[in-house]
């Protein structure tokens, strides 16, 4: 990326910071409303006080959490800990970052896409052969873990966070971008030991699901508003190209999704 480009990028980040602040405040109000708690009544209470502090007071002003995020409309069904989900969000944004081409993984809805996928058949390896005995293998191309994908994801994300805390004295999602990238690279290179699986397998899964979430049909919660498709001029599911497939020119269409296509 050129210097000029990154400058534009940081200007944009500023705008988004303001927007994000509003979202956070709104989210806080909704939380209080939805849980039926009166703010004043819980501040002193240890449990809820801690919860509120953890969720809201320490909302950092670092870049990745400032990215426009539709969290307000979403809820988690797989990740029970907000902390794990924050690590996921930061990680997928590093894998598929916002840039001049368009939105990154967070704005595209990738974290919630992954949350839903892990809660279902794919996350539970429902169509895979998961009977023992399990044996260790050298190859990272062969899935021989007794953990399912959901378990691998939790294992990997927590390890990333633990490394970040130890090395950078910060949660992964609050570490600098370069620090996050360094940690991700160490997983990609297989330099980290995970319990019951390999860091390469975890990383490949994380990368794969990030790309899936960026470009899947919006019905799955990723590729929000088809913005992933727009970036690569992909038109979505369409009935026929018979009359234009021999065109010497590149043919563009505004994308449509399954919602528009399916009978």
């Amino acid at each position: 990326m050129t210097e000029n480009n990154s400058k534009q990028g940081s200007d944009k980040t500023k705008q988004d910071q303001n927007q994000s602040k509003e979202n956070t405040d709104l989210g806080r109000r909704n939380f209080i409303k939805n849980t039926g708690l009166v703010a004043g009544g819980v501040i002193g209470g240890s449990l809820f006080g801690g919860l509120l502090a953890g969720n809201f007071k320490s909302e950092p002003a670092t870049k990745q959490t400032d990215i426009k995020d539709d969290d307000i409309k979403e809820a988690r069904i797989f990740f029970s800990r907000h902390e794990d989900f924050n690590v996921l969000k930061a990680a997928v944004e590093r894998i598929y970052p916002e840039d001049d081409n368009g939105p990154g993984a967070i704005e595209l809805g990738v974290p919630h896409f992954i949350d839903r996928q892990l809660a279902g058949e794919f996350g539970m390896n429902g169509k895979d052969y998961m009977q023992g005995p399990f044996r260790e293998v050298d190859s990272d191309d062969r899935y021989q873990s007794r953990l399912n994908r959901g378990e691998i994801m939790i294992e990997g994300l927590r390890k990333m966070n633990a490394i970040s805390k130890k090395k950078f004295d910060n949660n992964f999602d609050q570490a600098e971008n370069e620090q996050q990238i360094e940690i991700l690279q160490s997983f990609e290179n297989g330099d980290v030991d995970l319990r019951g699986t390999s860091s390469v397998l975890f990383f490949n899964l994380l990368r794969q699901m990030t790309i899936e979430g960026a470009y899947c049909d919006p019905v799955y919660g990723g590729n929000r508003d088809m913005k992933g498709w727009v970036m690569r001029e992909y038109p979505g599911p369409r009935a026929a190209y018979m009359n234009e497939i021999d065109s010497e020119e590149f043919v563009t269409h505004d994308p449509i999704s399954l919602k528009d296509y399916q009978p």
Partner: protein, 582 residues
């Protein structure tokens, strides 16, 4: 306890092209046929609106469920412990009514005349010495000329759309439909190929170029180039598959009963003949015995081999003694398949989001009779292809080598090249070796407690040398096409246990000699005259093209054999002892 049912004329295991064709032909001839499918019943209705890359391509919606059904185990060496192939990313065999013949791409070539008499021809041309020690190179027991009418029949059933390969002769009639549209990418490939002295043509396709009624009265629609083809069932009934052809043909006779969710576990065998099959109704758990005069195994390569081993029919192959035939000669196009060269073009953009499974161009100059193997460090050769499948955004993010696979630079380059990259690849001929085979795994079981198939497979110099040659040729074509950056695939040192695609073959191979083959040229078992084993399991080796036309042709041949057997009985071909040494 299995509940015994009333006897029928023929039972057929599997509903893909193999099982479907045999079922249709025998039902048409008036025989009572019961067809077994362990997957779900499917119709064209199931695939209307099926344009969902995540579900079909990434989550393998149409592939075998390895949890509920079965998987295989895999190893390279005979003294290794095999490990199960656990995920659908590593095992992509089709499932449900129509089998792999529904999600297939539709590239449908005949094999070359040399393939059927490969040992004789190679020996004649280059001498016995050309054949490496340990390679099981053998003639098929049938010639191209004998098989031609069955090829012709299959092509008409499927309504293939194509044009004649300028290098191949011996077609008794033209393709039933004209070839697919020549798109700018294919044109670029063809021009480059011609400049290099090759003879390119459009790939024969089972995606039909016009609405067509086949000889059985089934109508296949016109392909719309909608791009959701390979890995998908067709939205429009425009891809020839068993669901729009042979299955309804069988059903319309009134002689065919389809039993879905029915998992055949054994062939019942009295030591001389098969008397029926044992199957389980997966919805109720009830086990049945279905007696029949003829049993046809028309399942996948793994299924056919496994059922024979589980049922203890035929002599299992033993690699130590090199004796036995069931499980022998496992091979296929998978690990060194489709390696080639990828080109990145700065000034050109292609409509890669449009396409069809078999839309492509190719040439045959580098394989079969057209290549001189005198000075090559391999025998036979391969086809060179370019395809335009219709690329989905999840699974097509090529970037030049050296680019990180994630992060800022990846995003930038993968978006830039999303419509600026073409791939030319090589489809090699693959041979059988003494050390590559299938048997039953001693450890891993299916959900009913039966052992799964164990594959022992390693690459040879033949595989690697041929693949290297192919990659180099693809690179030359890509250079001529004018790509700005060209990346070539690396040829693997060893098989990585990822079972890509569905080009697996052997295990129950055909031939003339019962010492080295399990079935004769009607696919009738030497050890059980009323048992026919149909499919790519019968291939002694893999020709340098895609297998489906040959699977279809052999199925028509086998159907004729079953009918002949039902009328006349006995062995339909005389065994010959070839004294072939491996």
């Amino acid at each position: 306890m299995a509940k015994k049912l009333d006897k029928v004329d023929v039972v057929v295991v599997g509903t893909g092209w193999s099982g479907g064709i045999v079922s249709a032909e025998l039902a048409k001839a008036g025989y009572k046929v019961v067809g077994f499918e362990r997957g779900e019943e499917k119709s064209t209705q199931d695939y209307i609106g099926a344009k969902d890359e995540l579900r079909y391509m990434s989550r393998k919606h149409m592939m075998q469920d390895l949890n509920k059904q079965e998987t295989i185990t895999s190893r390279n060496e005979i003294d290794e412990k095999a490990l199960p192939v656990r995920t659908q990313d590593e095992m992509m065999v089709g499932n449900d009514l129509g089998g792999s013949s529904v999600h297939w791409a539709g590239a449908t070539y005949r094999y070359s005349p040399i393939d059927f008499e490969i040992r004789s021809k190679i020996t004649e041309k280059y001498g016995e010495k050309k054949i490496p020690e340990g390679m099981y190179l053998q003639d098929w027991g049938i010639t191209y000329d004998e098989l031609e009418k069955y090829y012709d029949r299959f092509e008409k059933t499927a309504g293939l759309s194509g044009e004649e390969d300028p290098l191949e002769e011996g077609r008794s009639s033209d393709y039933p439909n004209p070839p697919m549209i020549e798109t700018p990418n294919l044109r670029l490939f063809k021009e480059a190929a011609k400049n290099l002295g090759y003879h390119p043509f459009q790939i024969p396709s089972a995606n039909l170029t016009q609405k067509y009624e086949n000889p059985d009265g089934q109508v296949i629609n016109q392909c719309q180039y909608c791009a959701f083809c390979t890995h998908y069932g067709c939205d429009f009934g425009a891809k020839a598959d068993p669901i729009v052809t042979v299955i309804p043909t069988a059903q319309e006779t009134g002689n065919f009963e389809l039993r879905v969710n029915s998992y055949v576990r054994r062939v019942v065998y009295d030591g001389k003949k098969a008397t029926g099959v044992i199957y389980i109704d997966l919805k109720t758990g009830q086990e049945y015995e279905q007696p029949a005069d003829v049993v046809v195994l028309g399942g996948f390569t793994f299924t056919n081999t496994r059922l024979l081993l589980l049922s203890e029919i035929g002599k299992p192959y033993n690699p130590e003694t090199r004796e036995g035939v069931i499980g022998r000669s496992f091979h296929g196009q998978f690990n060194t398949m489709a390696l080639g060269a990828r080109g990145f073009f700065e000034d050109k953009k292609f409509n890669l989001h449009m396409g069809a499974g078999a839309l492509g161009a190719t040439f045959s100059d580098l394989g079969g009779e057209h290549i001189d193997n005198t000075d090559t460090d391999f025998i036979h050769g391969g086809g060179v292809e370019i395809r335009q499948y219709g690329d989905g955004p999840i699974n097509n993010n090529p970037v030049p080598k050296g680019t990180p696979l994630w992060g800022e630079e990846f995003k930038e380059k993968s978006l830039h090249y999303a419509n600026r990259s073409l791939l030319v690849w090589f489809t090699p001929a693959i041979f059988s070796w003494w050390h590559n085979y299938m048997d039953l795994d001693p450890t891993y079981k299916d959900p009913f407690g039966d052992p799964v198939i164990r594959v022992t497979h390693k690459l040879t110099d033949q595989d690697r040398n041929l693949a290297k040659f192919g990659v180099e040729k693809c690179k030359e074509v890509m250079e001529e096409m004018g790509a700005d950056i060209i990346d070539v695939d690396e040829v693997p040192e060893e098989f990585d246990h990822v079972y890509q695609g569905t080009h697996y073959a052997g295990g129950v191979i055909m031939g003339e000699d019962p010492e080295t083959s399990a079935v004769n040229n009607y696919l009738q078992m030497w050890d059980a005259e009323n048992l026919f084993v149909v499919g790519a399991s019968a291939f002694p080796h893999f020709g340098n093209r895609h297998p489906t036309a040959t699977v279809g042709a052999l199925a028509y041949r086998a159907a004729e054999g079953v009918e002949k057997y039902l009328k006349e009985g006995g062995m339909l071909a005389e065994p010959k002892n070839n004294k072939m040494k491996a």
